[in-house]
Symmetry: C2
Subunit: 444 residues, 2 copies
Amino acid sequence: MNFILLSGGSGKRLWPLSNDVRSKQFIKIFRRADGQYESMVQRVYRQITETDPTATVTIATSKSQVSSIRNQLGEDVGICVEPCRRDTFPAIALAAAYLHYEKGIALDEAVVVCPVDPYVDNGYFETLAKMQKYAQQDSANLVLMGIEPTYPSEKYGYIIPKTKDDVSAVDCFKEKPDAATAADYIRQGALWNGGVFAFKLGYLLKTAHELIDFTDYRDLSGKFDTVTKISFDYAVVEKESSISVVRYNGTWADIGTWNTLAEAMEESTVGDVRLNETCENVHVLNDLNMPVLCMGLKNVIVSASPQGILVSDKEQSSYIKPFVDAIDQQVMFAEKSWGSFKVLDVEEESLSIKITLMPGHRLHYHSHQHRNETWNVVRGEGLAVVDDVETRLYPGSVLQLPAGCKHTVMAHTEMTIIEVQMGKDISASDKVKYSLEEKYGLHP
Amino acid sequence: MNFILLSGGSGKRLWPLSNDVRSKQFIKIFRRADGQYESMVQRVYRQITETDPTATVTIATSKSQVSSIRNQLGEDVGICVEPCRRDTFPAIALAAAYLHYEKGIALDEAVVVCPVDPYVDNGYFETLAKMQKYAQQDSANLVLMGIEPTYPSEKYGYIIPKTKDDVSAVDCFKEKPDAATAADYIRQGALWNGGVFAFKLGYLLKTAHELIDFTDYRDLSGKFDTVTKISFDYAVVEKESSISVVRYNGTWADIGTWNTLAEAMEESTVGDVRLNETCENVHVLNDLNMPVLCMGLKNVIVSASPQGILVSDKEQSSYIKPFVDAIDQQVMFAEKSWGSFKVLDVEEESLSIKITLMPGHRLHYHSHQHRNETWNVVRGEGLAVVDDVETRLYPGSVLQLPAGCKHTVMAHTEMTIIEVQMGKDISASDKVKYSLEEKYGLHP
């Protein structure tokens, strides 16, 4: 099966565990059977590949998420980078072009498009397989997922199917209604629109070529900023008469606030957390290396990361965004394709960070114009290259990197480095990248 | 006036702002007129010296508090170190011996003994001056402070005065009663025992020599561990017939729990804290360099330091001690006579700390057997001495200190150093101190 996963999202509503470079879907909150924690992205990717080990998965996303995706899903997953945000139709068109023109997927193969962050059970993926099958069989040009509603929500669009069968032609669509109208729709047998679509690749590319003037993936990517913003619903769904809907009635949650996230947690705490016996309905996510002690709290969420600390009544937590907007702060932690970093200390003219490199990975070969750096290797072994000269690194190695020097480090084992940056104008944008000879044969 | 301030206390009840080396009285929570924050110790010391600029103040304490006292009060305050804890009578006897045998205070001078951490207004110090005057005038051998009770507390001892005058002879003492009995005492005109005593130095030393076999301060200090534990109340007050009590009716609070501390805070937050408009009766003390955001909380205290994070219902916060006892953790921050440090990062075989040195101060000249260290100077200027060789330090200086080398740094301006410690057996006890030639003329 071919999957396109749409990965959008911002870092505001689940602050402080999300930030400007880590959207909510990358927060590791779900405990796997082996005791490790996984993120929403990792969970959905695992569920897809467990349901269909031969699945081809492509994530349609922005540049800012590429490092996190590589860090969490590795090198096997396809990534289609949107040069800028142009709403869902251009994003899906670009991903479809990527699959055909770059990956060679045939035009008569079915593709399933779904969000990267639904909180669902395995039945959801069986439904995706059915949708793919119906799309492949040409039973309709477009196959949608209809979620069996559990209450008259005002948050979702509604699909009215023609029959009550597991798969049915669609009678009509209804935009987000008020609660009374929603209850009326539900009595008529309406389903929530899950934002999941299946179609043949050729169908979507034909529609894309009709609406956008482009030749192939690279051409579309190059002119992406000139493409009209339009949603997939307006551009495709509303104009199509041959649509089927497949029912899904399992767990389906949109984890967009601390409150809904807490409901999806299997255990009430993550990290070093102690709750006394008088706490009720308390969830704590602690990403710091220090204990959190909670006493006598009711209906409270506590969340801590190097970015900050949130303590909120659960219901109030959905109003967080303007408060986070008002906090002007730099990124204090990030996952990168090569590992991760977190800020340990900030002074006016220095910044100390902890860098963790995964084995076999390396930093870009780069230099800084306005800052000197010192690397204190505290764990692991690797090879540094400074102005094309190699130096082996061990625990205890100290390397001074004056402004202007080209430098990188390749980790042979997992490495931890305390990097002290010194300069009057320390900025993430003060970086020039260089190519490094292929002889090192490592991941970039 | 001569003051002996008794400074005891542990780091449990006000965790995480207190720890094994910082007792509650050193937490900076009170905002001064100039906007700076001061601790309970600093507040009381300032109030004493503002009331009497010529006051001689000696703090009777344990070795573990000396660094914090020097850091917060400087070099002028006297410190009498109890070699071990032997209850209040030996502690006061040792301090009295220190005043006479080491500081040359005459036997006919009056001395006032009081706790280091009462939360009081300036009238308290005027009352101390009266007590000192009555003791000096020999109006009684012992002068006590009687606090006008505000409710029938079961927590305090009661003093029954013979008259309702501002100063009165004492009729009798009552141990901590139940509430009904306390109400009865209050109807009889009883006062709370404030734990404050004034006497002539000769009186106390005579009593001390009667109860303990010692010659002078050094002799008593040397045999302190063999002295019988006994409180000042049992050893002196209960046996004395010539006792006066002086009334005090201003603010008087024992700040021993987060709940009482919150009541004494002039503003509801300290540090980078944001409360939304739905918070009620919330106090937040944030000692971390990151924002704390609170939403929709009621009657909650939040406290954060490098030691950990507490989020507690205010009433529940008084039950904190067993939970803190159960947290097995190293000291993550401390104030030292030369400045302060905090732990930035802990790995199995490394520890990274941030050291701040006050100008004109230096570390002890010392070496470690089992660890190498690297100093990354990020702010300020000074002079390092490594195996008797001097090196000037500037922002950006990096100094490698292998195990065994003798090293120190003297700060010419306020300095900040990121110290990376490396070794299999990193321990605060792995330290050998050396004397440094006097030519540097700096504080030890």
